[in-house]
Amino acid sequence: MSIKVSTRQVDGVTILDLSGRITLGEGSVTLRDTIRDLVAKGDKNILLNLGDVSYIDSSGIGELVSAYTSVKNAGGELKLLNLTKKVQDLLQITKLYTVFDVRDDETHAVGSFSR
């Protein structure tokens, strides 16, 4: 199973509800294309809801980092929401937990974006 992405807008923040696996190939490409399209149309406040992401490999981690960088370079912010324990552990051992702004409450996460 690869990744599924649903997009919604809440108070000026684009929330991507992701489910499935973010791995080398289709999963990583889907995430990359989605972020690229959002940045291209000027969406700069992006919240990735990873609550239903069961698995991320090193390519998926790289894709999250690339997404973070491309949104930041466009003058926006990308934050993470609802990490599973597995994904949280992965971000901790790769020291990326301190790079990303990680949230576990959607309302507070939406309110935390600077607008």
Partner: protein, 146 residues
Amino acid sequence: MPNTPTTRTTITLPSTLDTVDRVEQEAESFANRAGFSEDDISNIAMAVREAAVNAVIHGNSYSRDKEVTASFETNDDDLVIRISDQGPGFNEESIPDPLSPENILRGSGRGVFLMRAFMDEVHFRQLSPGTELTLIKHRIPAQDAA
């Protein structure tokens, strides 16, 4: 988990992304049969997936003329998985540290790091041509064996 008969399986596959999934699934199945915990099974499968990705992409460059060989062995002490490619070779010393500040935001380069994080031993061996990665997970934790 003592006195387990040694079991081995070897598969040779093309250099495709399907191979990565197949090798990962085989590792998961072997780790499950060897009695590892759910967390360990997941970590072993991820480490092996990363090794297979290396073989398919960095080793064989998706070449139709090159194959990936994966062998899985369970003995009394260890789960041993070997993944080999037919690529130009690989210098493990050349791998940048993904945790260093200058590399932390790189979009790639974490595969070997994750293998080392999740397995007890990771060894590289140069073939001619190619590279073989050996990933080992001990079946009896040191604290239990003492």
